[in-house]
C-alpha cells in the first residue's frame, strides 16, 4: 500500500471515529440548549427564593407559582400573571384601580377574546379570525374576568346594533411570555401577584413589571386592579 493511501485510510478512520464519538453520546455538539428551548419554556420560572414581608400580608417566595388559597378559594397564580401581561402589554391597559376605570372598548375587546380563548398567547392562528358573540356572552365574560358587567357594552365599537351581536377580528396575539413571579401577597380575600416580564428566554432585558390584584367574589377569583410599568 502506498504511503499516501495509508494516510488517506488513517484520515478516513479518524473521521469515522470522530463521528461515532459524537453519535454515541447522543448529543448534537452544535446545538446549544438555549437555541432549542422554545414554547415549553413559556411559563418557566426561576427557583430562587426571596421572602418578602409586609404587615397584614403573607407572601410567597420569588419564583413560586403554585396555586395559593385566598379567602378559602384556590387562585391560580400563573393564570393571573398571564392576565396581567394580556392587559398591560397586549391591550395597553397599564393601570386601573377598578374595572370601571377601563376604557369600554378595551374591556369589551378583552372580554370578547376570552370567550373564545383562555389565554391570549395561545392564539396562534396564522391570521385574524372573525368571531361573533351575544351580549350575554360578553357580559358573562366580563363577570368572569372582572366580577362585574357594569359596562355600557352596546356602546362598544365591537357592537353591531343592526344584527344585535358583537363582532370582532380576533388578532393573532400568540407569543411567548417570559416571566418570573416576584411575589404573591395575600391579605384576607385579596391577593397581589407581582410579576416581572422579560423580552427573551434568557431574561436579560426587562419588558416590564405588573402588579395585579385579585379578589374573591362569589367564591371565584376576579381581577380588581392592575398597575404596570
Amino acid at each position: 500500500m502506498k504511503h499516501s493511501m495509508v494516510k488517506a485510510v488513517s484520515l478516513f478512520l479518524a473521521i469515522i471515529l470522530t463521528v461515532a464519538v459524537f453519535s454515541a453520546c447522543g448529543v448534537d455538539p452544535n446545538v446549544k440548549q438555549e437555541d432549542k428551548a422554545t414554547a415549553d419554556y413559556k411559563v418557566k420560572i426561576d427557583e430562587e427564593e426571596e421572602e418578602t414581608e409586609r404587615e397584614g400580608f403573607y407572601a410567597y417566595g420569588k419564583g413560586k407559582t403554585d396555586p395559593v388559597e385566598v379567602g378559602g378559594v384556590e387562585v391560580n397564580v400563573k393564570d393571573f400573571a398571564v392576565r396581567s401581561y394580556e392587559l398591560a402589554f397586549m391591550m395597553a391597559q397599564k393601570s386601573f384601580d377598578s374595572p370601571k376605570d377601563l376604557p369600554l372598548d378595551a374591556a369589551v375587546q378583552y372580554a370578547f377574546t376570552h370567550i373564545f380563548y383562555n389565554d391570549f398567547y395561545h392564539i396562534t392562528n396564522k391570521t385574524v379570525q372573525y368571531r361573533s358573540a351575544s351580549e350575554q356572552q360578553i357580559r358573562d365574560s366580563l363577570k368572569e374576568q372582572f366580577g362585574t358587567d357594569d359596562f355600557d357594552v352596546t356602546s362598544s365599537m365591537l357592537y353591531n346594533a343592526g344584527k344585535k351581536i358583537f363582532e370582532m377580528w380576533v388578532p393573532s396575539y400568540g407569543t411567548n411570555i417570559y416571566y418570573i413571579v416576584d411575589a404573591v401577597n395575600v391579605s384576607g380575600d385579596k391577593a397581589e401577584i407581582v410579576t416581572t416580564f422579560y423580552n427573551e428566554l434568557a431574561r436579560n432585558t426587562l419588558l416590564g413589571k405588573a402588579t395585579i390584584t385579585v379578589k374573591i367574589q362569589d367564591k371565584k377569583p376576579v381581577i380588581e386592579s392592575l398597575k404596570a410599568e
Partner: protein, 683 residues
C-alpha cells in the same frame, strides 16, 4: 496538514447539519433513550421502544418501524417538545394486549408532526394511536391518565386507535387536551366507541362528581388546514348517495364520534377554520361533537356536559352520521352537535365562507341535538343552546327522520342577507312537506356543486335554491350580477376583506350585487407601503360590512335612510349605516367606490412631546419603523401599537397604546377636532 484540517473541518460541518442516527442498544430489545436536546434520526431499523425524556428537538422517522411489547412504542415525556419529521414510510405500533399507545404523549409534553413522509401508527389496548393510553376502570379525575399536546403541520398520518382509544387524542377513561391540525393528510380512526380525533371511550356512567357522563371531555380540537378524514371506526365512507349506502358502512364504533368526545364525553371546543374535513360516526354519537350520553340521571352530570363547535373560514366540512344498529333504542347522534342521551345540543356556530354538508341517517337533526328525552328528568326534549349560521355559509343539511337543522334551538341565528329573504331556504319539516325529496336537485350559492338529497330524506335545509318546476333538471342560475368597485383607502392604510385579499388605494374589486362583504382596516408599513401578516403593518379588530346595490334600490334606501339621520349618513354614492357598521354603495354611480371615514373606520393619532417637538421623533412598531418628527398617523381601531420616542434619533421612551375612536382629546389651535387623538410624550 492543511488538507487534513480542511477535511476534518468539512466533516464537522457535515455532522452539524445532519441529524444524528440513533444508536440502539444491541440485543434482544432495541430500546432507544433520547434524553438530550438535539436532532435525531430513527432510520430503517426496527425498534422495540423509544423513550424521549425531557427533550426539545426533532426526531426524523425515516422508514422506521417501532413495534412494542408491554408498553407504548414511543413515549414522549417529562416536558419534551418534539417535532417528528416524517420521511418515507414509517410504522409505529403499540401493544394490543397491554395499556399502551403508538406514540404516547405525556401531559406537559408536546409533539409536532412535519415532513412529507407517511406514518402508520396504531394504539395498543385502551390507547390512542397518538396521545395517551387509558385505564380499564372508571376512576376519579385526579387519578386519571392525562395527555399532552399534539400538532400536525404536514405529512400523511394514518392513525388507528387501540381498543376504546381515539385515533388521535386520548385513551379509554381519559380526557383530551389540545389537538391542532394545520396541514397534511390525516386519516384517524377510533377503536370501539372512541373518537377518530378527540377522546377515547369516556364512560357509560359513573358517580356524579367522580366520573359521570359529561365529566370527561375531548378538550380542544383546532383544524386550520389539511385533508382530514376521521371516523369512529376504520371504514371507507365515501358513498352518500342514499341513506342505505351510508348505513351499509357498518361501523362497529357506534356511540363514538368522528371528531370530538367519545362515549360519555363532552367537548370543550371543536374549531374548524380551514381545510377539508370528512367526519363519520356510527349511531348514537355525533359525526362532529359529542358521543353518546346516558339515560340514567344518577350517572349524568348536566353541569359538566357541554359541546361547543365552531366552523368558519374557508373550511369544507362533510359530517355524516349513520344508523348501523337498526335498533331504535340506540339511534340518534347529530351529524354536527351532540349524541343521544344528553340534555343539550350545545353551541354550534358556522360562519365565514364555510361549506358544510351535514347528513344524518339516524333519528336526529343533522345539526343540533338528538331528539330523545334528556337524562336529567327523562321528559325534556334536548335542544341546541345556540345555532348561528353566517351570511356567507354554504350549507346543505339533510336528515332521514327529523328536522335538518334543530329549529327549536334556544337561540337560532340565521341572517339570510345573501338572498334577501328566507323563502330561498328549502326547509322541509316532514316527508309530506317534500313530495319528491329524493329528486330535489339544488345548486349551491357559489355555483360550484350540485347536491342530490339522499334517498329517504325527509328534511333538507339548504342555503341553496330548489328547483320549483322541473325537479329533474338543475336550477339555471341567474345571470351573474357583478360590478367593479374602486377601493379608496385613507393615507397609509389598506382594506382587507374576509377572504384575505388586501386592497390599497385605487385598486378595483369585482363585487356581486346584493352580497355582503366583511372587511377590516389596517395600517401599512410606511417603509414599503405593504400590509401582510409577516410584520408589515397592523390590523384593527372592528368588523365592517359593505354591500353594493343598483341605482333604483339605492335611491329607495337613501330616501328611507334620510328619515333616520341618527343612524344613517347619506352621501352621493353611499349610505353609511352607523348602527350596523355597514356601507351600502350605488354600483351604478359614476366613479363608484368604497370610502372609509376617520373616527368610524380608523383614527388619526398625532404624537407630540411635552415642551417642543424639535428634533424629537416617534416610531411605531411594524408601521413607522423609521421614526419621524411630529408624527401624524392613521391607525385601525382596536389595535394595540407599540410606539417609541426618540431624541435626536436616540430612543428615550416606549409606550403601548390601545387605538380607540375619538376621545375628545384632539385640540388644535383652540379648535376641537373629532378626527384626531393626541398622544403626548412626557419628555
Amino acid at each position: 496538514m492543511k488538507k487534513i484540517i480542511s477535511v476534518l473541518l468539512a466533516v464537522f460541518l457535515l455532522v452539524s447539519v445532519l441529524p444524528l442516527a440513533v444508536s440502539a442498544e444491541e440485543g434482544e430489545f432495541k430500546t432507544v433513550l433520547i434524553n438530550e436536546n438535539g436532532d435525531y434520526l430513527l432510520n430503517e431499523n426496527d425498534y422495540d421502544a423509544v423513550d424521549i425524556d425531557g427533550v426539545t428537538g426533532t426526531v426524523t422517522l425515516s422508514n422506521a418501524g417501532v413495534y412494542s411489547q408491554g408498553r407504548s412504542a414511543i413515549k414522549v415525556m417529562n416536558n419534551s417538545d418534539v417535532t417528528f419529521v416524517l420521511d418515507g414510510y414509517s410504522t409505529v405500533m403499540g401493544d394490543s394486549s397491554n395499556f399502551s399507545c403508538g406514540i404516547e404523549v405525556e401531559l406537559g409534553s408536546k409533539v409536532t408532526f412535519e415532513g412529507e413522509g407517511t406514518l402508520d401508527v396504531t394504539g395498543g389496548k385502551y390507547g390512542a394511536a397518538i396521545g395517551s393510553y387509558g385505564t380499564g376502570i372508571n376512576i376519579p379525575e385526579e387519578q386519571r391518565v392525562q395527555v399532552g399536546e399534539i400538532t400536525i403541520n404536514s405529512g400523511v398520518i394514518n392513525a388507528y386507535g387501540g381498543y376504546r382509544g381515539a385515533g388521535i387524542g386520548a385513551g379509554y377513561h381519559v380526557s383530551g387536551n389540545l389537538i391542532t391540525i394545520n396541514g397534511g393528510t390525516v386519516r384517524a380512526y377510533a377503536g370501539e366507541q372512541g373518537a377518530g380525533i378527540g377522546s377515547g371511550y369516556g364512560t357509560s356512567g359513573g358517580a356524579i362528581g367522580v366520573a359521570a357522563v359529561g365529566e370527561y371531555t375531548a378538550g380542544t380540537i383546532i383544524i386550520n388546514g389539511g385533508d382530514i378524514y376521521a371516523a369512529s371506526s376504520k371504514k371507507d365512507f365515501t358513498d352518500f348517495s342514499s341513506f342505505d349506502a351510508i348505513n351499509a358502512n357498518e361501523v362497529p364504533g357506534a356511540w363514538g364520534v368522528g371528531i370530538g368526545g367519545g362515549y360519555g364525553a363532552s367537548v370543550d371546543l371543536i374549531e374548524i377554520n380551514g381545510g377539508k374535513v370528512v367526519a363519520v360516526s356510527g349511531a348514537s354519537g355525533a359525526a362532529i361533537g359529542t358521543g353518546r350520553g346516558t339515560s340514567k340521571a344518577n350517572q349524568y352530570n348536566p353541569d359538566a356536559y357541554h359541546c361547543n363547535i365552531r366552523i368558519g373560514g374557508d373550511a369544507d366540512v362533510t359530517a355524516v352520521t349513520s344508523d348501523v344498529t337498526k335498533d331504535s333504542d340506540r339511534l340518534g347522534g347529530a351529524a354536527i352537535g351532540t349524541g343521544r342521551g344528553c340534555h343539550t345540543g350545545g353551541n354550534i356556530e358556522i360562519t365565514g365562507n364555510a361549506k358544510v354538508t351535514a347528513i344524518n341517517a339516524s333519528l336526529s337533526p343533522a345539526i343540533g341535538a338528538t331528539k330523545k328525552v334528556s337524562p336529567v328528568d327523562g321528559v325534556a326534549i334536548p335542544v341546541a343552546e345556540s345555532i348561528v349560521i353566517g351570511d356567507n355559509v354554504q350549507l346543505y343539511a339533510v336528515s332521514a327522520a327529523d328536522y335538518a337543522v334543530d329549529k327549536d334551538a334556544s337561540a337560532l341565528s340565521i341572517n339570510d342577507n345573501y338572498f334577501g329573504s328566507s323563502d330561498r331556504w328549502f326547509f322541509g319539516e316532514d316527508a309530506a312537506a317534500i313530495a319528491d325529496v329524493a329528486n330535489v336537485k339544488v345548486e349551491s350559492t357559489k355555483g360550484e356543486q350540485m347536491y342530490t338529497a339522499p334517498t329517504g330524506a325527509v328534511s333538507v335545509w339548504s342555503r341553496i335554491k330548489a328547483a320549483e318546476e322541473q325537479h329533474d333538471e338543475p336550477v339555471v342560475p341567474e345571470k351573474d350580477d357583478k360590478g367593479n368597485l374602486r377601493i379608496d383607502v385613507p393615507l397609509k392604510m389598506a382594506v382587507v376583506f374576509e377572504d384575505g385579499t388586501v386592497y390599497y388605494g385605487g385598486e378595483m374589486k369585482e363585487v356581486e350585487v346584493g352580497k355582503e362583504y366583511h372587511f377590516q382596516m389596517c395600517a401599512v408599513n410606511w417603509d414599503n407601503g405593504t400590509f401582510d401578516d409577516n410584520g408589515n403593518g397592523i390590523r384593527g379588530t372592528v368588523v365592517y360590512t359593505m354591500e353594493v346595490v343598483h341605482r333604483n334600490e339605492f335611491k329607495e334606501l337613501a330616501a328611507a335612510a334620510k328619515e333616520d339621520p341618527e343612524r344613517y349618513t347619506v352621501k352621493g354614492i353611499d349610505i353609511i349605516d352607523n348602527v350596523a357598521k355597514k356601507i351600502i354603495i350605488d354600483i351604478d354611480a359614476k366613479d363608484t367606490h368604497l370610502e372609509t371615514d376617520v373616527n368610524n373606520f380608523f383614527m388619526a393619532y398625532r404624537f407630540h412631546f411635552k415642551g417642543q417637538d424639535y428634533n424629537k421623533q416617534t416610531g411605531i412598531a411594524q408601521v413607522v419603523n423609521t421614526p419621524l418628527e411630529s408624527l401624524s398617523v392613521n391607525l385601525p381601531l382596536g389595535s394595540t401599537i407599540t410606539c417609541n420616542a426618540y431624541h435626536s434619533y436616540e430612543k428615550v421612551d416606549s409606550a403601548d397604546v390601545f387605538i380607540e375612536n375619538n376621545s375628545g382629546e384632539g385640540v388644535y389651535d383652540d379648535v376641537y377636532l373629532t378626527s384626531v387623538n393626541d398622544y403626548t410624550w412626557e419628555r
